[in-house]
């Protein structure tokens, strides 16, 4: 299969002041790929994901979406017009560790919001889409609930429905289950798994290595600001070649049973 990548990253660097977090990353995602990104705490996994949809500004490098370079060159400097960034973010849906639902809107309104304000849907059309997406994540009975009244797992499923409603080409998940009580992790992973079965393109930052193994078509181990090891789940998670990766995985299996 020789499809064009949806998303391409070239020579990405990111520093916070003098803290050089990402040190030159080249990467591309093709339709249908599911990429799991693993790595130690503070290694820059979130930063990497957040650079893709410009939640963080790049220090250096290029992002290409649908073969279009993001940013406009002006007098030798790259600027990022809001309109273009909004369009990128619309195409790359994001799900956060902390859900980031709008607490002053009901569940249904949360899902309708982007459709109305970004896509310009009528209320009726947005309503129909929201109802459909909420059904998909199993929350049809919660339309009129306030997000603050839901469990973490339910909130995260609303957040997924909200992202899905925009029909993004790629979904970015930043540790979607890390802030959940252990017994609520399953319901969210099942939803993500269902999206995988639909063949959606997804990037997932996670500490759930077992899930990553079953979910991903490609696994990336991020360390020292670079993609230290990249391969299939079997290659990276079962038979890692690099000592650094082996060490990382050993710490995870320490208390396995």
């Amino acid at each position: 299969m020789n499809t064009q990548p949806i998303l391409e990253v070239k020579g990405l660097h990111k520093s916070f002041a003098d803290h050089h977090v990402l040190k030159g990353i080249d990467f591309s995602v093709k339709p249908g790929e599911r990429v799991a990104i693993i790595g130690g705490s503070g290694s820059g996994k979130s930063t990497f994901l957040r650079c893709l949809n410009f939640m963080e500004t790049l220090s250096e490098g290029e992002i290409w979406v649908d073969n279009e370079r993001i940013g406009v060159e002006k007098n030798g400097r790259i600027t990022y017009p809001e309109k273009q960034l909004c369009s990128v973010r619309e195409r790359l849906g994001m799900v956060f560790q902390q859900f980031n639902l709008f607490p002053h809107m009901t569940v249904l309104q949360n899902v309708m919001e982007g459709l109305i304000t970004v896509k310009g849907y009528t209320k009726q059309d947005a309503h129909a889409v929201a109802v459909r997406e909420l059904a998909k994540v199993g929350l049809s009975e919660k339309h009129d609930a306030w997000p603050g009244r839901l469990s973490g797992g339910q909130q995260q499923r609303v957040a997924i429905a909200r992202a899905l409603s925009m029909e993004p080409e790629v979904l970015l998940f930043d540790e979607p289950t890390s802030s959940l009580d252990p017994e609520l992790v399953g319901e969210v992973l099942r939803v993500i798994n269902q999206l995988a079965e639909e063949g959606r393109t997804m990037l997932l930052v996670t500490h759930e290595l077992g899930f990553a193994y079953h979910f991903a078509t490609k696994v990336i181990f991020l360390a020292d600001g670079v993609f230290h090891e990249v391969g299939t789940p079997d290659e990276v998670l079962k038979n890692p070649k690099k000592p650094r990766t082996q060490e990382f995985l050993r710490r995870f299996s320490e208390f396995a049973f």
Binding site: N53, M55, E82, K83, C86, S87, R89, E90, G93, M94, F96, Q98, F99, N100, L101, F102, P103, H104, E113, G114, T117, V118, W146, A159, R162, A163, M166
Partner: protein, 221 residues
């Protein structure tokens, strides 16, 4: 000390004081409404990513925070007319002073509410592709309003009390009317005690109304 109180002459001129009270309420209400508009404009400028908008707003706000209110009254009444070669009546000058003052303080109140909204709310909206202005009006401001209400009410009470300075421009507010009554009756103790009580009743009533509004506006939490 043996002073014989006599409220008679004062109470017989109560209509003058009532008019003053009415004028005080009028100028306060008008200035609050205009102050909100000034405050909204200022805060939008202040929070704008464009420096040439943010800067003047910041300067304006700092100017008002660091100058005595009475100076603003004098400036609008005596100085601005020179600049514009027109004359302003006391009412207009006082409204200008009060609404720009309160606007500067309201802007800070609004800003405080807005910056208190967690970063995640901005990110949640941005990730959907919402523009800055859509995010502001649909996500940030609606949540910030409930947090702005208590400091907003406090500022408005300050404004209500500051209206007394309008008397220095001979605007017929409660204090000015009291001075008139005093000059006719020579009963300062009774006159100023009476209007102190009238201010008290006004502010207590206003605070009751404000409390009702506050519970309304913060209902969703």
């Amino acid at each position: 000390m043996d002073y014989s109180w006599d409220f008679g002459p004062v109470l017989s001129r109560f209509d003058m004081l009532a008019l003053g009270l009415l004028n005080t309420v009028k100028i306060a209400m008008v200035s609050i409404v205009l102050g909100i508009i000034v405050g909204l404009v200022l805060v939008m400028m202040r929070l704008s990513p464009r420096k040439w908008l943010a800067w003047p707003a910041a300067v304006f706000i700092e100017f008002y925070r660091n100058t005595p209110p009475i100076v603003h009254f004098f400036w609008f009444f005596y100085a601005l007319p020179v600049l514009l070669a027109i004359s302003l009546n006391p009412y207009v000058a006082a409204v200008l002073a009060l609404s720009t003052q309160s606007g500067a303080f309201y802007a800070e109140v609004f800003r405080g509410g807005i910056v208190s909204i967690e970063r995640g709310q901005w990110e949640g909206g941005k990730a959907l592709g919402m523009t800055h202005s859509a995010l502001m009006t649909r996500v940030i401001v609606p949540q910030a309003i409930s947090r702005m209400v208590p400091p907003f009410i406090e500022r408005s009470f300050e404004l209500l009390k500051t209206t007394a300075l309008a008397s220095t421009l001979a605007y017929a507010d409660l204090l000015y009317q009291a001075m008139l009554v005093n000059s006719e009756t020579f009963r300062p103790l009774e006159v100023y005690t009476t209007i102190a009580l009238m201010y008290l009743v006004l502010l207590v009533t206003a605070s009751q109304l404000a409390r009702m509004a506050e519970t309304r506006l913060t209902a969703y939490q």
